[in-house]
Symmetry: C2
Subunit: 109 residues, 2 copies
């Protein structure tokens, strides 16, 4: 099994609080995306809504995935004032959240 | 916000049951990876262990991500006998699981 050198995927799953508007979610998503420009080790960002058909999404409705050059880069991001400010805002709007970091690993079978 | 045309990411987060061995997890991971060869619309697969530092992973320890060419491709995968057999085996070993499908969308800010 081959672990990619250095790259770390940072995955956030969430269910927003009831009453949040689509406009507020869009603003939060844009705020998340802007971190790419503000925090050097954050290399890319994408997001999406759950479209699963197996009914195993456990109520989570949105995913946000960003990519970092290393675990040191994630640590720099976590401590960065722009992230701290955004995280405080973002987390005030969520009912539940999971944040999961991993080094993508492929398998030769 | 730009949704990629067609591609669907299929994300599975899990915590395996206590007592499962590293060897069993490796066998399950290889079995998951083999589905790429067995189910045509499943285009790629990678996995990883949680290395997060924010303590928001909610006990989840492993992630498995596969990519499909479309939602129709995911439906074909879900119904495929090779997937059904593997899912029954895999799910018998997990304490909890989330399966989340989404169309990756980028944001221009």
């Amino acid at each position: 099994m081959e672990e990619s050198k250095g790259v770390v995927k940072h995955v956030l799953l969430t269910k927003f609080k009831e009453g949040i508007s689509e406009n507020q979610i869009e603003e939060l998503t844009k705020g998340y995306a802007k971190l790419v420009d503000l925090i050097e080790p954050m290399k890319s960002f994408h997001w999406g809504k759950d479209v699963s058909i197996e009914n195993l999404h456990q109520g989570f409705t949105h995913i946000f995935e960003s990519t970092f050059e290393s675990m040191e880069g994630v640590a720099e991001y976590v401590a960065h004032p722009a992230h701290v400010d955004f995280a405080n805002l973002f987390l005030s709007h969520v009912e539940k959240v999971i944040v999961f970091d991993y080094k993508p690993t492929t398998v030769r079978v």
